[in-house]
């Protein structure tokens, strides 16, 4: 009996010790190749690494899954390869299971998640200087607004996630695009007020006050808020930082004066350079006759921003705004996101909408002059001037961030223009499908009509 009691005592004592030491035995340090989130935001250097990594994604994974495909989807580019996902864009019949479509959606939301995490963590950070917190928070807001702008223009209403909670985000519903626009404007206004005029580091590759203002002017234009669109564009143009416009041959170089904001590239060529610029043989992506016919004779943009190549009996015209397809340290190129040329066109349109035709034509002529063309000589009625501006946008902003698709859509011209060109065009193609994966994993998401 007594020994039984002893046994129990030993058992009790030992198990306490054992349990305690067992816990120690399975303790592992945080992995060597990772930093805990707290560590990242305890130090300016690592916080900067987290900040700049959001920028990286727009060149390496977002734009390369977006721009050329939307150019194919509208009337700018054709695709000559055999990848079925890409052919779907050419036919303007993108299936919900399309991989590039999922990639664009997924990478955009990853950027948004990264921004949200930055904003949350910076607020909690005990050590970072207030100036850094303010700077990074506003950069994150700018990039979040930038992402949402393209998402709603591609998919219509999309879920608006402003924090990182998985339980809230996993079942998020689509938010009305008016509310998303409101958030975009709010974020951009914060960024406009919170960011300095100076760019951090070398190059115009971190958002500043005017990057936020420039995007804001575009958003106002899309919202048909002509007064604010004009005012914002004027603020950018009037800063004097981005004029005079460089020659067409210099406009897309890393140090282009026209650049308001661009994404840095490590080796001097944009991620899509290898896909868009053929080194030999026929290009995969080439301009349609619609796009080529849009240029007036003598337009330098046709000769300098489009490359002509004859192979056998066939002639191909392919994108050549960016020239580099591999490492180039002599004349590097960054992926330009906002440039002054667009600001002139925004202001021209806003002015024309406010019946200031002379002002509008003056802005239009800035671009025509650079393109080696004569001043606008058409009628000065509203319809004609607006048509001229839309046309100028087509020949100025082609193959940049899906601009043509967005322009046709906001002007209600998409179905008319595209229906006349592509037999496979359907009126529901105005919105791309919500990726199948998203529909499969979020019962609250609704597929866009027609898919």
């Amino acid at each position: 009996m007594k020994s039984k009691f002893h046994m129990q005592l030993i058992l009790l004592l030992t198990s306490t010790i054992v349990l305690h030491s067992c816990k120690k035995m399975i303790e592992i340090p945080s992995p060597q190749n990772q930093l805990t989130t707290d560590e990242v935001f305890a130090d300016s250097t690592t916080a900067t690494s987290a900040m700049v990594n959001v920028y990286v994604q727009f060149n390496t994974s977002i734009n390369s899954n977006y721009n050329k495909f939307l150019s194919c989807y509208s009337d700018e580019l054709s695709y000559g390869g055999i990848t079925q996902d890409n052919i779907q864009y050419k036919n303007s019949a993108v299936a919900p299971a399309n991989t590039a479509n999922l990639n664009f959606w997924q990478k955009s939301y990853f950027a948004i998640y990264s921004c949200n995490d930055l904003i949350e963590q910076l607020q909690k950070s005990p050590n970072l200087p207030a100036l850094t917190i303010r700077q990074f928070t506003n950069e994150a807001k700018f990039l979040r607004a930038f992402s949402y702008f393209y998402l709603i223009n591609t998919y219509g209403s999309v879920p608006l996630t402003l924090q990182t909670s998985v339980s809230a985000n996993a079942s998020a519903v689509q938010t009305d695009s008016a509310i998303v626009y409101k958030q975009i404007i709010q974020d951009l206004k914060d960024a406009q007020n919170g960011l300095p005029v100076n760019y951090i580091g070398t190059g115009r590759v971190r958002s500043n006050k005017y990057a936020a203002t420039a995007l804001l002017s575009r958003v106002y234009l899309w919202q048909m808020d002509w007064v604010n669109a004009e005012a914002s564009a004027s603020a950018v143009i009037g800063s004097g930082l981005y004029s005079p416009l460089p020659k067409t041959t210099d406009a897309f170089l890393a140090n282009s004066l026209e650049t308001i904001f661009s994404f840095w590239t490590q080796y001097g060529y944009i991620a899509d350079g290898t896909n868009l610029i053929p080194s030999s043989g026929a290009p995969q992506y080439f301009y349609t006759t619609t796009q080529l016919n849009a240029f007036e004779p003598g337009d330098l943009r046709l000769s300098n921003w489009i490359s002509k190549k004859t192979i056998g009996i066939n002639t191909f015209y392919s994108p050549y705004k960016y020239h580099n397809r591999s490492t180039n340290t002599a004349s590097p190129e960054y992926l330009i996101a906002l440039r002054a040329g667009e600001q002139y066109l925004i202001r021209a349109e806003a002015r024309a909408q406010q019946d200031n035709y002379n002002g509008a034509i003056a802005d239009l002529n800035v671009l025509r002059k650079r393109a080696g063309l004569g001043d606008y000589s058409g009628s000065t009625d509203k319809k004609s001037v607006l048509t001229a501006i839309l046309h100028e946008r087509q020949v100025e902003l082609f193959t940049e961030w899906g601009n043509r698709f967005l322009d046709l859509k906001r002007n209600g011209a998409l179905n008319i223009v595209m229906g006349g060109i592509k037999p496979t065009w359907k009126s529901t193609a105005i919105l791309l499908p919500v990726p199948q994966y998203e529909i499969s994993t979020n019962p609250n998401l609704k597929q866009n009509p027609g898919y």
Partner: protein
């Protein structure tokens, strides 16, 4: 941990002293002493000596000696020992002489040693459900990955060769898929050392034509003595948290005492592909394409800028064609295999040392080969007094796997239009289709693996009842991978920058397991107690470097010649695991057996507060054939056992650090600053999953065990499964680690039948047959409708549910397909989430026969599965890509009734994901035929040869399946959903000499 050991030692000692004290009080009357040995005279420690029909019993000590007291004047003794025939001998008249009792090895499979977790038993006395594959079964099969040798040979174990190329993986599921999108791999243990079945490079994944490199390729199949597959909870509970998907115990060969034995084995043979996909021939393809243009009202154009550009109809030859599957997979691979070993030893020390070399070339075009070489050692020693023993075993294997096409253009190549010209008219590689096997095959993947597994066991017999042992195991597997993409392997129109990927990853793991074993023989019963602990620590590290811009393609293997570094990534995963476990086994008269085990585990993969879990099980068996009433009633039933088990096991097969919120290196730079990105959505709350398993079985032997039948019924219910929980990417990620609030049930019937049909002196015929009928069901799911599985899972259905569009009809007048909308919805949009089927097989099994006639032996083994699977039709008919013959069923003219829509250059994207593209993938595969001739006497022995064996073996010789269904192969499944090449058909001839 030291304290734990001390405690265990102390506690068990206390128990033991008490028992010893009892023994010593028994008075010694009429005593006999003796020694029990095997036929060679080696002592058999632990043998049981009993007085027949009496109560007195004892067991032999470590020298095989025993003393038996309290003997009656006359009667008989029964002497029994695991793996030996029970002997009956009369009680000697003269007590003073030492009795020498020699036991004969038992040929009855019921008495063979059965390896179980932390011990051994026999099939007869086992309370759990275990299938065993012996070295004899493995040696007959010319396989590279030892896991494929299991295929069809064990009930409840579904084996799928995922990829037939060397290095390819084998999927094993024991008793159904218990988990959604989570690890269903069993726990593999090689000589006591847990062996990770996940590719070492998994954190830095690089694609390869053979899929991810399975670490099992660096295990030499011929080094293996036996593979035991632990299926039910009674057998697996001793592995606690890691037992939920079953446990596979691999035991390597050991030496035997006696004359030094040299064994040499050489074989050579060849591989061809087991099956080719049935693609359209040129005329069928061209007709389909012309029809597509006609249906669309278009004219094929030879202008590449035209949207009707169709070089296959306007430029390329209309008469000359290539059968691309035959072109790509039609080579013959050559196989050479050499094994040599020396083994032997004396009473106290035995050893076995072996070396092996294997080389094979593949069926692919281009330069691919596989080589493997290794060394195995095993050393056992016990002290003269048998108190102490030590054993050391290990294997070291190197392999080198060279394969073409790491860019995986293979699928595209396979379905190139039949008239695609590989070369342009001037003789250059033709890149008109974007891919070209001549170019694709110039890209290379080289994977070099070295794998070291070793285990040291120390044993000390504290008393005749109590043994302390401790094992220390170590495994290091290292992978060195190089992938090279020369300019010539790439379409010059795209990105002919040469590039290479270098990856060096390793996984090392150390495990220490102290144990105490207590065995006590009572009058009519035996008690076995086991208690022990485990400490395991693993570290996985890897470095992946992407480089490009080499000045010359010839320098691609030399990293320092790279012009630019495109990305550097590393991985670092640490894992620690600690547990205490115990097992009690109580056996009454070999008639009633109860077995209970318990284990408490802690794992570093869980967040603070959730690290520990307790698991356990109880199993019981009743050998009713030992009951006298039964023997009288049904004498033809020579063996009968009812057994059952119930218990809880877990699963910690989840990635490391999932509870930790971290940022990791993105491998990218911005303004020359290295980027850091969020690694995951961390979840500090996930906890151990619970897997409740229930089993009942009956085992029967008829006519002196010539017919053995086992019937198992199992049910397992897993709840709170640890899964990589799928989430929409709007959360930033595609998944995160979480417990699934669902109950998933696997039930099934398993039948195993072994018969000795004919047993004559010169001729014997045995048959083995097994079949498993599994069923899987999602029993419940908390708030399924609001979860991210709302569309993909349905309560009451299989969790391998296949869903898609339901094709309602192909309009006989237009040839267009229509798809059903969501049931109950007003929308007319096709609905994607209809249940189409499941991938859980309806049943599977194996059937084998072995014939021996004098020196000849013939084995024939077949494997069968009844199952459905997604087909390999990737597009609706009409585009410039070849496809399966199935498309001949398409709509062609008004009035055609079919389920394949008309040919069109515009793809019907719903078709490939529809109910039509789901086919019967059942098959019967003649897995193995082996014929051997063995000579043990005659001229061979005059040359000093103990045994000479000449053999021929064939693997995957013939497959019976629905050949017109669109699959590359019914076993590896559709190529389109994962890169998987069909299994190989191998034929080898060999000779084995033992002297």
């Amino acid at each position: 941990m030291k304290k734990t050991i001390l405690f265990i030692v102390l506690a068990t000692l206390c128990l033991n002293f008490k028992a010893l004290a009892q023994l010593n009080t028994t008075p010694n009357v009429r005593q006999v002493q003796g020694k029990v040995t095997d036929e060679q005279g080696n002592p058999l420690p632990g043998a049981t000596i009993k007085i027949k029909n009496g109560t007195v019993a004892t067991s032999t000590d470590k020298e095989g000696k025993f003393v038996l007291s309290n003997l009656p004047l006359k009667g008989a003794l029964t002497v029994s020992f695991v793996g030996f025939q029970t002997l009956e001998t009369s009680i000697p008249i003269n007590y003073s002489n030492e009795m020498i009792i020699r036991l004969k090895a038992d040929a009855n499979s019921l008495n063979e040693v059965q390896v179980i977790g932390y011990g051994t038993t026999t099939k007869r006395l086992n309370t759990g459900s275990i299938s065993t594959i012996s070295s004899a079964d493995i040696e007959k099969q010319p396989v590279t990955n030892v896991l494929s040798a299991i295929s069809g040979r064990a009930s409840g174990v579904f084996v799928q060769q995922a990829n037939g190329l060397p290095g390819g993986g084998v999927n094993i599921q024991i008793r159904g898929k218990g988990s959604i999108l989570a690890g269903t791999n069993p726990l593999y243990v090689i000589d006591g050392v847990p062996f990770s079945s996940t590719p070492v490079t998994y954190d830095l994944s690089t694609s390869s034509l053979n899929g991810a490199v399975s670490p099992f390729n660096s295990i030499n199949p011929d080094d293996i003595e036996s593979i035991s597959i632990l299926k039910d909870v009674d057998a697996t509970a001793i592995y606690g948290s890691r037992g939920s998907n079953g446990v596979v115990l691999i035991t390597t060969k050991q030496g035997k005492a006696g004359k030094t034995k040299v064994d040499l084995n050489l074989s050579r043979g060849f591989n061809t592909i087991a099956s080719y996909p049935s693609v359209l021939n040129l005329q069928q393809y061209l007709q389909l394409r012309r029809e597509a243009f006609k249906n669309d009202g278009l004219t094929p154009s030879s202008d590449p800028t035209s949207s009707s550009y169709a070089p296959d109809l306007t430029i390329w030859s209309q008469t000359e064609s290539t059968n691309f599957p035959k072109y790509l997979l039609g080579s013959t691979g050559h196989v050479t295999n050499f094994q040599g070993s020396v083994s032997g030893g004396d009473k106290n020390t035995t050893f076995s040392i072996g070396g092996n070399y294997h080389s094979e070339t593949t069926v692919l075009i281009g330069d691919s080969y596989y080589q493997r070489g290794g060394l195995r050692y095993s050393l056992q020693h016990h002290s003269l007094n048998n108190k102490f023993s030590i054993s050391l075993s290990g294997t070291y294997t190197l392999d080198n796997n060279r394969l073409i096409d790491p860019a995986l253009s293979f699928q595209g190549d396979l379905f190139l239009p039949p008239n695609f010209p590989l070369r342009t008219p001037v003789g250059d590689i033709n890149w008109a289709s974007g891919i070209n096997p001549l170019g694709d095959s110039k890209a290379q993947s080289i994977v070099k693996t070295n794998n070291f597994v070793t285990n040291l066991v120390l044993k000390y017999n504290i008393s005749s009842d109590l043994t302390f042992s401790s094992s220390v195991g170590y495994n290091k597997i290292n992978i060195d991978q190089t992938q090279t993409f020369p300019k010539s392997s790439q379409n010059p129109a795209y990105s002919p920058i040469n590039s290479a990927i270098f990856n060096n990853s390793s996984n090392q793991s150390i495990i220490v397991e102290p144990q105490l074993n207590y065995k006590k023989q009572f009058k009519n019963s035996t008690l076995n107690l086991l208690t022990g602990g485990t400490f395991q620590s693993s570290l996985n590290q890897g470095l992946l470097i992407n480089v490009s811009n080499f000045s010359n393609d010839a320098l691609l293997n030399n990293i320092s010649s790279a012009g630019s570094i495109d990305g550097i990534n590393n991985s670092y995963l640490q894992y620690k695991y600690v547990s205490v476990f115990g097992r009690a086994n109580y056996n009454i008269n070999d008639k009633y057996i109860v077995n209970a085990s318990i284990r408490r585990d802690g794992s570093s993969r869980f967040g603070p507060g959730n690290q520990f879990g307790t698991f356990g099980a109880v199993g019981a068996a009743w050998l009713f054939s030992k009951e006298n009433w039964f023997k009288n009633m049904l004498p033809f039933i020579s063996y009968g056992k009812l057994r059952g088990s119930y218990g809880i096991v877990g699963n910690d097969q989840i990635p490391d650090y999932q509870y930790l919120s971290t940022y990791s290196n993105s491998g990218q730079y911005y303004q020359d600053i290295a980027g850091l990105q969020p690694s995951r959505i961390s979840n500090a709350d996930f906890h151990w999953e619970v897997n409740k398993k229930l089993e009942a079985a009956i085992e029967l032997g008829f006519f002196t065990d010539r017919i053995l039948l086992t019937v198992n019924r199992y049910q397992s219910r897993s709840s709170n499964q640890l899964v990589s929980y799928a989430i929409p990417t709007i959360t930033g990620f595609k998944s995160y680690q979480a417990n699934l609030p669902a109950v998933v049930q696997n039930t099934g019937w398993e039948f195993e039948l072994n018969t000795k049909n004919i047993q004559e002196k010169d001729f014997s015929w045995t048959t083995t047959f097994n079949i498993t009928v599994p069923k899987n069901k999602l029993v419940s799911f908390q708030n399924l409708a609001g979860s991210s599985y709302a569309n993909t899972l349905v309560i009451g259905e299989d969790i391998t549910r296949v869903y898609g569009y339901r094709l309602t009809s192909v309009d006989p007048s237009t040839g267009n397909a229509t798809y059903a909308p969501q049931p109950g919805s007003t929308s007319t949009s096709p609905y994607f989430y209809n249940t189409i089927g499941k991938t859980t097989p309806d049943f599977y099994g194996g059937f084998g026969n072995t014939f021996t006639y004098k020196h000849w032996q013939l084995d024939i083994f077949g494997q069968f599965v009844k199952q459905m699977a997604r087909g390999d039709i990737l597009y609706s008919p009409g585009i410039a890509t070849n496809s399966y013959q199935y498309l001949l069923n398409r709509w062609q003219k008004p009035g055609d009734i079919t389920n394949v829509p008309k040919a069109s250059t515009n793809i019907d994207y719903n078709f490939a994901g529809s109910s039509v593209n789901y086919f019967d993938a059942s098959y019967f595969r003649l897995k193995n035929v082996a014929l051997s001739y063995t000579l043990t006497k005659g001229w061979a022995s005059s040359l000093g040869i103990d045994q000479l064996k000449i053999y021929g073996q064939g693997q995957n010789l013939y497959t019976l399946w629905h050949k017109n269904n669109p699959f590359l192969d019914p076993e590896s499944g559709a190529f389109g959903y994962s890169a998987n090449l069909p299994p190989m058909r191998s034929i080898v001839l060999g000779v084995q000499i033992t002297f």
